[in-house]
Every structure is written in C-alpha cells, then in structure tokens.
C-alpha cells in the first residue's frame, strides 16, 4: 500500500464520523484512530500479516478430543493443514479446526469448551517467511 493511497483514505475518513479505521491489503496494511479511541484500537489490532484461524462451524470449541491435553500454545510452530482443535456441534458430531498455512501461533483468542460462532477468530498465526 503506497503513501498516496493512505493519504487519500485518511482524507476520506475525515469527511465521515469514523473514529477508527483498519485496512488490510494482501501482506500490508495500516490502522488509524482518533486520539480518544487510539488506545483500544491499537491494542486490539493484530499486525496485518497475521492470519486468523476462524471457526468453520458454530459449536463448542475443544482444543483436543476429551482426555487429550491441549497441544497448541503461543510461540509453537504448526505445519499447514494441522488440526488445532475441534468444534462440537450436535452430540457426537465434531468438525476439525485446521490451520491453512504453516506458521507460528501468535495469539490464542479462545478458551477450551467455550461456545464459538461461525467465522469467529480462534487463533492468530504468523505465517512462515513474514
């Protein structure tokens, strides 16, 4: 994303009521917030190159099948297609949660046995080579 484009976007933001804006484009991005909203906006914003692993179904999230300990922690590296957890939908039915590309677990956003909605971000991965 070039500087000219960012300037253009910021000029447009000033014509609106928006207090914060975050933009991601391929592997670059930026975020902007007016001073009174700056703290929370920046704190919540993951770096633009992080990739979210989101829930493929609504249900109850489990790191592992019952009786198996949690393997995923922040900092560990995962290969692509690795199963990091399961979502229990109806009794006896589960959907695996997989990582799309290899990388390091940067942030964990979900606790074991918590309800998750479809598309909810569960963990952030810092993809390899970034």
């Amino acid at each position: 994303m070039n500087t000219e484009k960012i300037k253009e976007i910021l000029a447009w933001v000033k014509t609106t009521d928006l207090t914060s804006v975050a933009l991601k484009e391929k592997d670059s991005g930026f975020s902007f917030a007016t001073s009174e909203h700056a703290d929370q906006s920046f704190a919540d914003m993951p770096p633009a190159h992080y990739q979210a692993v989101s829930a493929p179904a609504i249900g109850t999230f489990h790191w592992s099948r019952p009786g198996h300990p949690q393997k995923v922690e922040e900092g560990i590296s995962l290969p692509a297609e690795e199963t990091v957890g399961y979502i229990e939908t109806l009794p006896g039915k589960t959907v695996p949660v997989k990582v799309s590309s290899s990388g390091k677990v940067a942030r964990i956003l979900v606790e074991d046995s918590s309800p998750v909605a479809y598309g909810q971000a569960l963990i952030f991965i810092e993809p390899d080579g970034k």
């Binding site: 179904a57 249900g59 109806l90 039915k93 309800p115 909605a117 479809y118 598309g119 909810q120």
Partner: protein, 450 residues
C-alpha cells in the same frame, strides 16, 4: 410456556416472530449468515448467532448449524418461519430428536399433507374435491381416460415443475400428438417421461383457507384469502375476503379444510390451497404445512394473532378460540408483497444499499419489514423486502388506502415493485374483482411468453 425460542429464518418473517416472542415474554434467539450480520432480526433479538456463510445451503438450510445454535442458546423450541426448512419433515423430526419443540405440525402430518401426491390422496379419501384426473400415469388407454376426465385437459409430467412437460389439449384429436410431445419434453427435462392427465380448470382463482388445530382434536378454518394476483406462480397481492367467494362457498371450503386437518391429525397452523372456477366449484391443490407469507391478511380480517397462536399450540395449549370466532370477518384486507426487483427489467433482483427510507403509516396500515435506512439488501436470498397490509371496512376503501400507503413508501437506492402494485391495483378488472390467475401476465407482461 417456552422461555426461549430460536428463529431459524431471516428477513421480515424473523422480525415478525421476534415481535410475537416479545409480546409473550419469551426470549428470542436469532441466527444469521455472514451476509446478514447487519440485518434487523439480529438487532432486535435477545441473542444472535452467526451460523454460516452467505449461501443458504450452508446457513439457513444447515440443520446441524441451526440446532447447534439452539443448543448453545438454551432455546426450547425452534420456529422455522416460511421457506427454508419450514416444510421439511426431516428437519421437524431432527428438532424433536435433539430435544427441541418444532413450532409447526408433526413430521407425520407434513408427510401426509405437505407432499403433493400424498395430500391429494388424503383429500380424495376425505371427500374433498380434487381436480379430476387420471389416478396414475397414462398408458395406451389415454383417450378413454381423457374422455372420462373431460376436455379440455392438461397433460402433466409426473416429475414436473417450471412448466416443462405441460400441454393444454382442447380438442381430442390433438391429444395423441400433444401427449407424445409432453412425454419427450419431460424425458429431456427430468429424465422421466411419465405423464398424467388432469382436467384443465378455465379461468381459475387461487383461493386458500387458513387452518389451525391443536393436539386435542380441535380444528378451525378461517375466512379465505384470495391470492389470484400472481406472476409466474409467485403471489403478488393477497386479499380477504375474496370478491368472488359467497358465504355458501366459504362455508363449504372451510368445512373441507377442517376435514382434511382432522384426517391428517394436523396440529399447529397451515393453509389448504384451492382453485376456484367461475361457477363456484373448488378443487384442492395442496397444503402448506407452515405459516404463510400472507398470514397478516387473516390477522387483519379477524383480529387474531397467528404467530402467537402457533407458539401456544406448539407449547401444548388448546386452541384459544372456536370456529365461530375464527370465522368472524371484521375488515377487508389487502397485502402487497414489495420485492427488491426491477419490473422494467423482467423483475430481475435489485439488491443494494437503501440510502433513504420512508415508511407508510396511518389508519389501517401495517408494514412488516426488516428494512432500515442504510441497510444493504443482500443478493443471496428471496427479494421480498416488505409486506404492506391495509385493512378497512370495505374493499373499495381498502384499495384506496393501499394506493395511498404505497405512494408513501420510498426506498432510494434500489428498484422495487411498488409502482407495479399501483398499476395492478388501478386496473379496471382488479377494481371490479373480475380476474383470474392469468391477470398479471395478460395485462402487464404481454411478452412474457405464457
């Protein structure tokens, strides 16, 4: 009574059910696809769960996701609305298996009445008139069978739909040729060339009877709804009472509908659809085993709340009113289905952002909608965006009220069918009440090829 209900639907009908829940002190749980995150039903519900991506198959038709949302929310019952899974017997059954009450008839009644051929068979058994026709498929004795039915006849594909394999035969000498054409057309379209013959009902009206029944053997039938104004079998305007149904015909239709409901051990609400010919004969077509889009017409005529009734019946209560009360006609009511479609461009969908919105109001006007200013109508679903319902003391004034209310409705940013409704309403045949199901195609879509 239930404490919490999940509404397995979207749009105006989800809003309608949430409103009924509110009035009954029941918590309402909404579900939504990624395309409906900003939808009104999500805003109005007590809780809302994203269940899948935009395509309905992966969200509103995904029974596993719907029932998982019910489980997570702690809902006791599921209201299916109309469309989507509302007439799916397997879904009704899956709800019950997973411990949820399905707010609709039992799966067995859906199978008995909802499936066309099964419904017709039950109608015949119960003595409800059906369109005369061959009992099964036609073979080498086709001429004898067609003569028994009586010309003009329709040759219809057994696995038909969408007008394919459909032939009108007025003259017996054309039958053989038309039958062969229908068979080859059906074979090409559905991989099955089997056909049957039905009497062709001339200049029919589409008239339907709302029913409601409980688990204690009580069933009532409401005054009819006339849904003759259709475009390609899609209803556009519904009214009650029908300008062509006399008290005698009404009583007969209500009795037929009640008999069917009792024979099928039906419970909850439903609608029995009939064709009415110009001589006042009516013929059973099918049963819709759910709440209808046009239910507000009946609510406006009778002053009874059908969604409230549905929920009470599903909770195991007795019917809260009797046949005499259900038959009361207090007003004349007309409903307009306003779609996000471009009437000047073959009614193609017109999704997009609604920049400005002005809603009609005033005496005798009801608007069921999920619209708000700034809302973006998504392209993934049905194009119905609002139902304008008016009611007044008589038909003439109800039409004037409709025209007035339609003029007040403004939706900038998208094309709608509002003006089309005004044109239809102002046509001399609509005003006189003399029209049949070909009315819209005949006068407003002369090049539609029908």
């Amino acid at each position: 009574m239930f404490k919490k209900i999940l509404i397995a639907n979207r749009g105006e009908i989800a809003v309608r059910v949430i409103r009924a829940c509110r009035e009954m002190g029941i918590k309402a749980v909404a579900v939504y696809s990624e395309a409906d995150r900003e939808s009104m039903h999500v805003r109005l519900a007590d809780e809302a769960y994203c269940i899948g991506p935009a395509p309905a198959k992966q969200s509103y038709l995904n029974s596993e996701a719907l029932l998982t949302a019910a489980r997570l929310s702690g809902a006791e019952a599921v209201h299916p609305g109309y469309g989507f899974l509302s007439e799916n017997a397997d879904f009704a059954e899956t709800c019950v298996k997973n411990g949820f009450v399905f707010i609709g008839p039992p799966a067995s009644a859906i199978r008995k009445l909802g499936y066309k051929s099964a419904g017709k068979a039950l109608a015949r058994e119960t003595g409800v008139p059906v369109v005369p026709g061959t009992q099964g498929l036609v073979d080498e004795h086709f001429m004898k069978e067609a003569q028994a039915v009586g010309f003009p006849v329709m040759v219809k594909a057994a696995s038909g739909g969408g007008g394919k394999g459909l032939r009108l035969v007025r003259d017996p000498k054309d039958l053989e040729e038309q039958l062969k054409l229908a068979q080859s057309e059906a074979k090409a379209a559905f991989g099955d060339g089997s056909v049957y013959i039905e009497k062709f009902i001339e200049r029919p009206r589409h008239v339907e009877i709302q029913i409601a029944s409980d688990n204690f053997g009580n069933a009532v039938a409401f005054p009819e709804r006339d849904c003759t104004v259709q475009r390609r079998h899609q209803k556009l305007i519904e009214e009650s009472p029908s300008p062509k149904v006399t008290p005698e015909i009404r009583a007969k239709m209500q009795e037929a509908a009640r008999k069917l409901a009792l024979a099928a051990k039906y419970s909850n609400v439903g609608t029995v659809e009939f064709l009415l010919d110009p001589d006042g004969n009516f013929y059973f077509i099918e049963v819709n085993t759910r709440l209808q889009v046009e239910h507000p017409v009946t609510e406006s005529v009778t002053g009874l709340d059908l969604v409230n009734t549905q929920i009470r019946l599903a909770a195991g209560e007795k019917l809260p009113f009797d046949q005499a009360r259900a038959s009361e006609i207090h007003f004349h009511s007309i409903e307009h289905r306003i779609n996000a479609e471009d009437p000047d461009n073959n009614f193609s969908p017109s999704p997009g952002k609604i920049s400005e919105l002005v809603l009609p109001g005033g005496c005798g006007v009801r608007l069921d909608t999920h619209l708000y200013a700034g809302y973006t109508v998504p392209s993934f679903y049905d194009s119905l965006i609002a139902k304008l319902i008016v009611f007044s003391s008589d038909r003439d004034h109800a039409i004037k009220r409709s025209l007035r209310a339609l003029s007040e409705l403004e939706t900038s940013g998208i094309k709608t069918t509002r003006d089309f409704h005004k044109k239809v309403l102002s046509h001399k045949d609509f005003l006189s009440g003399n029209f049949d199901t070909s009315f819209v195609e005949k006068y407003f879509l002369p090049n539609s090829g029908r």
